[in-house]
């Protein structure tokens, strides 16, 4: 057991899924040509003024409701001043003294099934900065600036330092991801920077009440990187202290590709941001009516959905946990279930073949080449014994390749399972007749070990039927015929 306790707090930046920016009418869509989605306001042209996007405010309130937080009925924007080329105004418009979301909490579940509450200190609205494109991404020796992202609405969620391990931090991050995607305020696309994590880590002697000096590792955009960065940082801090050194308060960067971290700036080099209330924006007033209206129209939260999946579809806690945590996956699963009428198969295929394939090819479920309707069509054919599980894998591959619906593929490939008992009896009889040596071997084997010999016959039979024989039926017929020979 380690002699050290780890203390972790998170600051999470969540890009809100509004169509336009927080203070301008420019689009927030990802992936456009650089600087094509930056209007005069985003470029901080002289004389331009911000106008607050109401949808962003509503999304922030929805997050507050989701974590059972106090909603700031009057919140205010401030200017955070610093110079950087991707920050066009020379200040970031953000909230400090009066955030829109106050104290709240998020329950996480750990691998051993235990649950824990992580307290949220507050969440505030702010604008995202643009991106600097340095050497490699841009022309040699020159930095470029892309302001498409500048002004994208964010909520920054600040947790209390309630986590004691990378596992807890990741569980918390995943839970936040699940919440914001479930209520539809964020697309959750981590690879596009829709959620980014700053991790505050410190260590202290085991059992001590005094917190150690913390470091902040900024801008982690995957759960995996976060886990690695925390592990490395904890190790670094412990080594440092055990070697007689001390941790200095600093901001660090973790490179997920090289798996190394470096110091970005120390406390002494930190900016004095000179916050003051933004005179271009009025205080944000959220009325009780608006809060109630948003509360009434809140989409289902992940915890409620997981419980419902167990109740309604008879899923195991584990399956419900996986399917219910991810909103698009949950929606997909429910469509498949509704249309196929078979929740068990729908769950297995959605979590298994489909999720695995999407994961391997790094495709989000929203862009799945196999639609929920297609998968439901295929499951219906498994359920009515038209195809076997093995054939279904072929059908799935074909659907993934864009060959059409399950029925079309079954038809085109002649994959229909043979369940006609007359035809199957004939095939079994033929195979037994053609393999007398195998039959003798079966008869001469101990009764206890005979079961193992069946596989050989099955292989021959399936081959003879070109894989189309219904395996359960074949199994029955085969046993019956062999028993007759004993």
């Amino acid at each position: 057991m380690s002699n050290w306790d780890t203390v972790i707090g998170l600051e999470v930046h969540v890009q809100l899924a509004t169509k336009t920016k927080i203070f301008s009418g420019a689009s927030t869509a990802f992936g456009a040509e650089p600087n094509t989605q930056a209007c005069a306001i985003d470029l901080a042209m002289p004389g331009t003024l911000p106008v607050l996007n109401k949808q962003a405010v509503h999304y922030a309130v929805m997050f507050g409701l989701a974590i059972d937080a106090e909603i700031g009925k009057e919140s205010a924007f401030e200017r955070k001043n610093y110079f950087y080329p991707d920050l066009p105004k020379g200040y970031q418009t953000t909230q400090l003294e009066k955030p829109i979301v106050g104290r709240g909490q998020v329950e996480i579940q750990l691998a051993d099934g235990s649950k824990k509450n992580i307290r949220i200190h507050h969440a505030h609205l702010e604008e995202d900065a643009g991106k600097s494109l340095h050497d490699g991404n841009f022309r040699h020796g020159v930095s470029g600036i892309d302001l498409n992202r500048a002004g994208t609405p964010l909520i920054e969620i600040v947790s209390e330092p309630d986590m004691i391990s990378a596992e807890e931090a990741v569980a918390f991050a995943k839970k936040l991801h699940s919440i914001v995607t479930s209520i539809g305020i964020c697309d959750g696309e981590m690879s596009q920077g829709s959620m980014r994590f700053d991790v505050n880590v410190s260590v202290k002697p085991r059992g001590s009440d005094t917190l150690g000096t913390r470091t902040e590792t900024k801008n982690l955009n995957s759960f995996k990187f976060m886990e690695e960065a925390i592990a490395k940082e904890v190790e670094r801090q412990i080594d440092l202290i055990e070697d007689g050194g001390s941790v200095i308060q600093e901001t660090r960067l973790y490179n997920g590709d090289t798996k190394t971290a470096r110091s970005m700036r120390s406390k002494e080099e930190a900016n004095d941001y000179r916050y003051f209330p933004c005179p271009d924006l009025l205080p944000v007033i959220v009325s009780d009516e608006t809060i109630e209206q948003l509360r009434r129209s809140m989409p289902e939260l992940p915890d409620a959905r997981q419980a419902r999946f167990v109740e309604q579809y008879g899923l195991s806690e584990y399956d419900a946990g996986i399917l219910g945590s991810d909103a698009p996956m949950a929606a997909y699963f429910e469509t498949v279930t509704d249309q196929s009428g078979n929740a068990k198969l729908a769950a297995n295929w959605t979590m298994g073949e489909l999720a695995g394939r999407l994961n391997n090819e790094d495709i989000s479920i929203g862009k799945s080449p196999v639609s929920a309707e297609q998968l439901a069509g295929m499951i219906a054919r498994i359920a009515d014994n038209s195809i076997s599980g093995k054939m279904a894998k072929q059908v799935f591959e074909a659907m993934w390749a864009g060959e059409g619906s399950a029925d079309e593929i079954i038809e085109a490939r002649g994959l229909k399972q043979v369940s006609d008992s007359g035809a199957l009896e004939q095939i079994v009889a033929d195979v037994l007749a053609a393999n007398q040596a195998m039959v003798d071997d079966y008869i001469n084997t101990d009764e206890a070990k005979r079961k193992k010999k069946l596989g050989g016959f099955m292989g021959q039979i399936m081959k003879a039927s070109k894989g189309q024989a219904n395996p359960q039926q074949v199994n029955q017929i085969l046993l019956q015929k062999l028993n007759e020979l004993l």
């Binding site: 002289p46 004389g47 003024l49 080329p85 020379g90």
Partner: protein
């Protein structure tokens, strides 16, 4: 034609006494001839103006002309004009051509006004003498060795010299009223939120307000009718119907209660200015107004509070001028820090740099509460002073500034002496109240102004009092020698 008021010009145009093209050409000729003496106009848009005048004449002929159709005006170079350089009086924006119009510019375009060009100003509206402009100082048409006031000195001098019958201006701490007083014209700073700030380059966002300058209150009413509007592009713009400011000009002022703050007649006031202001008040009293001595006890705190709040806001507002996207950029920056430092050191003038430094200091960790926090408290006290006063009176009147126009360079070494120029005007900006200046006399043959302060959105009452005053006096018709 250049001695006609806007009201008379509108009539002349509509009754076809002259065309807008004739009128526009006349003013363009005057600018060409006289502006070199005053340096009031820094960009002349002759070609666009004549084109707009031609269009205006067509509309006038067709009989569907809007309010100011064909009337030539000038815009302060702080208002963004689509396709026309908008410098804000700074080297930083010497090459800046906005791709959009300020809402104020748009409103005048809708009203059919013809824009002759852009007027000179203190750099980023920071100054009370027009000496901080990158384009050189504006000269006061009444005495060319004297300042015209600032920051809207170009607009004021242009109107005084009859280079245009009216002009737009802005006022953050007195920048409409003080130059109007020093140049002998009428200028009005509306209630904060009455005129859109969209496209008006920000100095101190919570104090900046655009307003009109002309020779008479009647003309200011006509201009304000067009200038004031609700604009959803400016979150601080207040959604409230714009009254017809011309409608109540002729109402009687009998029974009007005029508050005269004793703090505005203290030691620093020039005796000649005081005499002129007192006789203006007596004139209004003679017309039936009632003079009430009042107190604005926290007046003395307004200048120090202003010189914390305005620079603090400016320090952030001016951060965008970094040489990265538009405007001036230093030659051959060796790295990012060098780009920032030299661009801003070379692109901003001394006064602008001074205010950025003051503002940055006031907001710094450890100083915020003592300066910015305290100044905001003072601001509340000043608002409260006015609220109390307006329980007793309808309008407040006093001098616009302590003395008439001063000589160039005479306050150059002492920024604080310069800041005291705005001692009577700053409080209204801190409170967000409307204020105006009306010519009320000459001291050493230089104009002085009567300041009229109204309650929130009470511009119509202010214009009414000013118009009634002008119906019985001639100070607004006085002109610098040789310019009539």
């Amino acid at each position: 034609m250049h001695n006609l008021t806007i009201a008379e010009l509108v009539q002349g145009l509509q009754s076809k006494k002259f065309t807008s093209v004739e009128l526009t050409q006349h003013f363009l000729d005057r600018i060409a001839e006289l502006n070199p003496d005053y340096n009031a106009v820094i960009t002349v848009t002759a070609e666009q103006a004549l084109k707009a005048a031609t269009a205006a004449d067509q509309r006038l002929a067709a009989g569907n002309a809007p309010a100011l159709c064909g009337v030539p005006i000038l815009h302060k170079d702080i208002f963004c004009t689509n396709g026309v350089r908008t410098s804000c009086g700074s080297k930083m924006l010497d090459n800046f051509i906005p791709p959009y119009n300020a809402t104020v510019v748009e409103n005048f375009e809708q009203a059919g006004a013809v824009v002759l060009g852009k007027t000179n100003m203190d750099e980023f509206a920071m100054g009370s003498s027009n000496e901080t402009s990158f384009y050189g100082p504006v000269k006061n048409p009444w005495a060319t060795d004297c300042v015209p006031g600032g920051s809207s000195g170009g607009s004021a001098a242009a109107v005084a010299a009859r280079l245009a019958p009216g002009a737009t201006a802005t006022d953050t701490g007195g920048s409409i009223r003080q130059p109007a007083a020093l140049c002998g014209i009428t200028g009005l700073k509306p209630t904060y939120g009455r005129v859109s700030r969209w496209g008006m380059i920000a100095f101190a966002s919570s104090l900046d307000q655009g307003g009109p300058m002309a020779r008479t209150a009647e003309d200011c009413a006509l201009l304000l009718n067009c200038m004031a509007s609700y604009d959803d592009k400016d979150s601080t713009c207040i959604e409230r119907e714009v009254p017809d400011y011309s409608a109540s000009l002729n109402s009687s002022i009998k029974g009007l209660r005029i508050g005269v703050p004793k703090e505005y007649f203290s030691d620093g006031l020039n005796p000649g200015t005081e005499t002129a202001v007192r006789s203006a008040l007596a004139e209004l009293e003679a017309q039936g107004a009632e003079l009430v001595e009042i107190s604005l006890p926290n007046s003395a705190l307004s200048v120090p509070a202003y010189y914390v709040i305005a620079p603090a806001e400016a320090s952030a507002n001016l951060s965008r001028f970094d040489g990265v996207r538009y405007g001036y950029r230093c030659e051959e920056p060796k790295d990012l820090e060098d780009l920032y430092c030299r661009t801003r050191a070379e692109g901003f003038g001394e006064e602008v740099q001074r205010r950025i430094l003051i503002g940055t200091y006031c907001l710094s960790a450890g100083y915020y509460d003592a300066y910015y926090g305290k100044a905001q408290q003072v601001r509340q006290l000043i608002q409260q002073d006015f609220a109390t006063a307006f329980e007793q009176v309808d309008l407040i009147m006093g001098p616009t500034c302590p003395s008439p126009a001063f000589k160039f360079g005479s306050k150059g070494d002492d920024p604080v002496a310069m800041y005291l120029e705005d001692i009577y005007t700053i409080a209204t900006n801190l409170a967000g109240l409307p204020g105006m200046s009306v010519p009320c006399g000459l001291v050493d043959n230089k104009p002085v102004g009567l300041q009229i302060i109204g309650n929130y959105f009470d511009e119509a009452r202010m214009l009414n009092a000013a118009h009634q005053y002008q119906q019985h006096t001639e100070w607004h018709n006085a002109a610098p020698e040789g310019l009539v």
